[in-house]
Subunit: 241 residues, 4 copies
DNA sequence: CATGAATGAGCCTTCATTCAT
DNA sequence: TATGAATGAAGGCTCATTCAT
């Protein structure tokens, strides 16, 4: 029976994955307000009632979509963390992870934005809120650990506060992603490749903090090649970043 | 009659302002999907029918809210543009304008985000779309003109593309604003004052581009005082930025 | 002042005509439920308030449109009544009047049909209801007088009840008009010219009653020419009936 | 499961019938524009949402009402078609079918008239439009087949066009029905029994075409008795037509 | 008299959620 | 456990009618 239970559990988890995947797809296509559970039920080929066996409310479901994406981001960040090298090389790996994530979840932000509404969180279940918080923490700590190491090792000035660095990195990444994917701005600023823009901006911030070795003092070509090979072997886009 | 017409027009414009103001408030509180015209009508103490005398659809109304905020931003930017001084001082004034705007429209971004949906723009009227475009352009050109001047004057390296600089400035501002106002990140990164965080990040980017005089080479205290006095005399928050 | 009053009255009547004319046009184009007083006010270039100075309710207005059409029909019928000739020739003139009316008010029926709703009459004013009744009576009596004369003169069998004949004539005319203008039936029954179909059906009914001289016993070509010339000189369509 | 499915389907069909029946009743009472789905939902004792599980739009529902009536008419006509006898006897049976239908759906015409609006058909679903077309065709072909047979057999003159005969029959039936049920005309023309009036008018038209044996040449009493007994045994009204 | 801004009741339609089977 | 029919509250929008100017 324990075996049967296990199989049941696995099936349940698989179905949950299926639901989340399709929900994410529809969310990106239609936005939160136009996501409708009838359409989702049809897409996953389960009944609407079954959706409610997995998720207490629509908000719960959407939060699960966001959390899964966030977990993948955390996974990518932690993989980047394990890169062997200077702190600046490792934060660079994090930057690559951001781009990899952005490509996998091109419209993750549009989902994340809907989470900002107060009423949203009120309707989501405690458990989903907790899980989302856990993944947020993993992302933060992945970056923070590298920054702290850089301060300790002297790659960053002793007097910078690690949290400030983390915040600036998060800020430039979020902002670049939003800005570089807005059609209006793509036109005005002649953005050819959003990924390139994001990475350039990250470098600007990192240089801004005086994180050694500065871009002008070091050739990161070899580093990039190693990151590509060792951390993101699956990422075809990194061919010629 | 011309007088009466003028008064009528003024009253109409005033009521439109009133509606937009309240709509903005509710929009920030409840989000786009939860903004309901019954509640708005009650808030402004006019009937629902009257709302529709001013705005063809709900989308039109929301776009008007966004456009008004954007216009204020453009106004602030253009005021900053008129600051007399080095290019770096003037881009600094733009940074101050961002902060001033952020304070006036703390949650403007959450509104702007709802505009991303394709179906949204389809339902908005041509006129409102046009007006929004015009204001977007003003904002861009205010920043762009300063950057171009910096390149011409040699304050920025000759080989940087002005649009890249503009994009990075917009990115860091958007991103910092979002990040620094997220409760979760405020906690993790110990953000005491979001405004300070935004401005620090802007400086990092500007230094990152090598925009002279660099922060370490120049004392901007006097500049800040002048910006405060000459450009934003009304902004109390600038007391001790 | 009496003169001024007269002018005012005339202006009022003229405006009323204008309103009814435009209302009829919109009614035919959009149907009763889609007739909207804003559009009508714009069309007549008077304010909505002015419309209400002339008509108590929307129903009143529509009834006025119907009544005016009915009055025109009655006028045409009474003109036909004055045709000099055999009773069968005169009822033939009525038939021509029907066609003339149908051409002038191609979609009068669609208006008349909306009058059938009980709730409609409840909302119409007493005065308008009365006027509509008066015109109905004129139409009936025009036809009835000819039928009675035919019975008296022996052109119709002595034992037919005039009212039955009148009813059958009204029936075939209404029915033919509806049937011959339905696209579906036009296709199935190969209706080339609705007017011709209506007149043929009228002849069938009249022959059916044995109204002398029967179609096969008399050549009505000359009659038709006279009706055209004497009664409907303005009707271009009668060229080659 | 197949059994359960069958039962479900049957229940669904029954509920659909229930909705259509009540909708027809309200439609006749209030007209299309005043039919409101809240009232209908209350009448059928199902929720408004349930109505929408059966019909995509209000227009769809109304069209379904019309189509069901039309189907019944087609059924009656096809039954009449199967009457054994002379062609004139069989077209007479069709006449009886008209009356039987008129009694069952006293106010069908008022519904059918609302279908004339162009905007109506735009909002109805393709499927409902198709079904309505199919039933229209059945009605036409039932009549047309008898007329053609009459021409071939020499009961109608060789030179008449069958479609003209069909059109005249449809016209007199529609028109008589409308005229004979208008209170105003009932009064003016002393209509005691609308059914009798309709049938008399039909005979006039049929005689008008010279369809043999003419009314004066044949006693249809026995035919009527047979039609009553063989085709409409359920129709109590035919007792003494 | 004429206006047209303001009203607000009313309606169609959607969709998250429930629950009997 | 899975289903999907049923629900009903909610919301955007219209438009006939009124009334202060």
């Amino acid at each position: 029976m324990s075996v049967a239970k296990t199989r049941k559990d696995r099936e349940k988890a698989e179905r949950e994955e299926l639901i989340i995947t399709h929900a994410g797809r529809l969310l990106v296509r239609d936005g939160y307000q136009n996501l409708n559970l009838d359409a989702l039920a049809e897409a996953v080929e389960y009944s609407k009632g079954t959706l409610y066996l997995h998720f207490k409310t629509k908000e719960d479901l959407v939060l699960a979509v966001a959390t899964r994406a966030l977990r993948e981001r955390a996974d990518l960040f932690e993989r980047a963390t394990r890169f062997k090298g200077k702190s600046r090389e490792r934060i660079r790996a994090i930057g690559f992870a951001c781009c990899q994530f952005a490509l996998l979840h091109r419209d993750y932000f549009s989902i994340e934005m809907t989470l900002k509404s107060v009423s949203f969180w009120e309707k989501a279940s405690e458990e989903q809120r907790r899980q989302h918080g856990v993944q947020s923490g993993r992302v933060f700590h992945a970056v923070n650990s590298i920054v702290q190491e850089a301060v300790l090792s002297g790659d960053l000035p002793k007097d910078v506060k690690p949290q400030d660095v983390v915040l600036s990195l998060i800020s430039i990444t979020i902002g670049s992603h939003i800005a570089a994917t807005q059609p209006e701005l793509q036109m005005l600023c002649a953005v050819e490749n959003p990924i390139v823009a994001v990475r350039r901006n990250q470098d600007l911030i990192i240089d801004g903090w005086g994180w050694k070795p500065l871009l002008k003092d070091w050739d990161y070509t070899a580093t990039d090649r190693r990151i590509k090979a060792e951390i993101f072997p699956e990422a075809s886009w990194l061919k010629s970043s």
